[in-house]
Amino acid sequence: MMLLSVDISMVLEKLLLIVVVISASLVIAMYTTFAERKVAAILQDRRGPNRAGPFGLLQPLADGLKLFFKEEIIPAFSSKFLFILGPALAMLTAMMTSAVIPWGGTIELFGRKIDLQIADVNIGVLYVFGVVSLGVYGIMIGSWASNNKFSLLGGLRAASQIISYELAMGISMIALLMVTGTLSLKEMVDLQQASYWNIVYQPLGFLIFLICAFAECNRTPFDLPEAENELIGGYHTEYSSMKLGFFLFSEYINMFISSVIMSTLYFGGYDIPFINEAAMFSPNVVAIIGIAALMAKTSFFIFVFMWVRWTIPRFRYDQLMYLGWRILIPLALFNMLATGGAVLYFK
């Protein structure tokens, strides 16, 4: 029975790419936790973790090992299945976005051209947006299954926060789509390589997107779902062991992925500024330099995430809602109208 009429080597290639991308995201997220502690230490004039291995480089491994060996506690009267589903979903939705990101150009290996992108779907931006909107389920389900009032409050905060900031994020994305005229992330990067980066056309849109990304990742100053001095631990109060680790870890993966998305949408993706790299090196070298360029931009944004966390104190909940509904959404609408007018006038 000929069930699959697809190219087997293509399937292998994509499978390999998925494994590489997922494991790379996991390792990068692991070292982001280390970087966070180091950056916090530098900003607070401390040394930070420096005991495990040279410069404390083995610290994330030690942390992971510690989490694995912790006792696992599942609270009584909670739905056990949903309690486990919560952190699993949080991790899943954090990883799913990486499927549509163009990580680099094209590599030629053994006579095959391999696109460094898992799926070039023609609705890439909407896919990202869809996965972001699903991201809240892990937190909500986990918090409800915990059967704890503090957890539930954290989950409800997360839900209303993410829905509120999704609107402004979506509207700022619409303005970007008006400029580029495509929904494919790959085409967006190609356009930026040919011309200026989108940040030139959409500075206000980028600012709105950045603020919303902070809120969507539950990062300080918008980390109200886990505000530890009001809600103990927020949505993950009842979690222990590696399930807690999954929740904490998914935050770092989200941070990494949203940094990549910001670099791709507004800062040219794997484009290297000011030089025409395609004319200078062979395609494979260009692709590798492209990946390095994307990672450099991403690292900068991850640093901005940490910088803000250790600089700006947490918002009050009404301030958060005020910022989202009364400032960011009108600003995003204004940005969309202005962009639409400009596109109509110039094109």
């Binding site: 069930l3 609705i123 909407l126 947006f129 869809g130 389920y137 909500m140 409800w144 209303s160 829905i163």
Partner: protein, 171 residues
């Protein structure tokens, strides 16, 4: 049997099965979660029909926003089988009649389907965003605008309801 048929059968089983589970679940939270699975299965069907835009919008709007609000309300009210009011005989009868009528209408529509002319799968560009945009803003611009007015009025209504509460609260 090719791969498309296989995927179609898988998605259909998933959709119908989760819909049944949604009705059968005792806990409202489980019902909401099963409903989300139904939406995913339907989005899968849209992708089979090459309507990617519709598929992803279905996920963003229904699974991503509306169901989050459903879950929000169900969790906040902490509904469960104990607090559910026992509906009386007359209400149950009304429910059976209205549900049966809907079933009849759907059945009569399904019976009329010409099996020879099945939908074209994975072909055509009717569901792609470009053709959708051209259709909405050229051929069907008036109905589109009218529905947007409807949305606007619903939005204003929601704001007024929210404001009313605020005024009585302060005064």
């Amino acid at each position: 049997m090719n791969i498309t048929t296989l995927v179609f059968i898988l998605l259909s089983v998933m959709a119908v099965g989760s819909a049944l589970m949604m009705i059968a679940s005792k806990s409202p939270v489980h019902s909401v979660l099963w409903l989300i699975v139904v939406f995913f299965a339907i989005s899968g069907h849209y992708i089979l029909l090459n309507a990617q835009f519709l598929a992803i919008v279905n996920i963003i709007v229904y699974a991503g926003a509306i169901m989050v609000l459903f879950l929000f309300v169900v969790m906040l009210m902490n509904l469960n089988a104990d607090t559910e009011p026992i509906k009386n005989y007359r209400l149950q009868l009304i429910g059976v009649i209205s549900g049966g009528t809907l079933l009849l209408i759907i059945l009569s529509a399904v019976m009329k389907i010409d099996v020879e002319q099945m939908v074209e799968m994975k072909t055509g560009d009717a569901g792609l965003i470009k053709s959708l945009g051209f259709n909405l803003f050229k051929n069907y611009v008036l109905p589109f605008e009218i529905s947007s007015v409807l949305f606007l009025s619903a939005m204003i209504g929601a704001v007024i309801i929210g404001k009313k509460d605020e005024i009585t609260h302060e005064g």
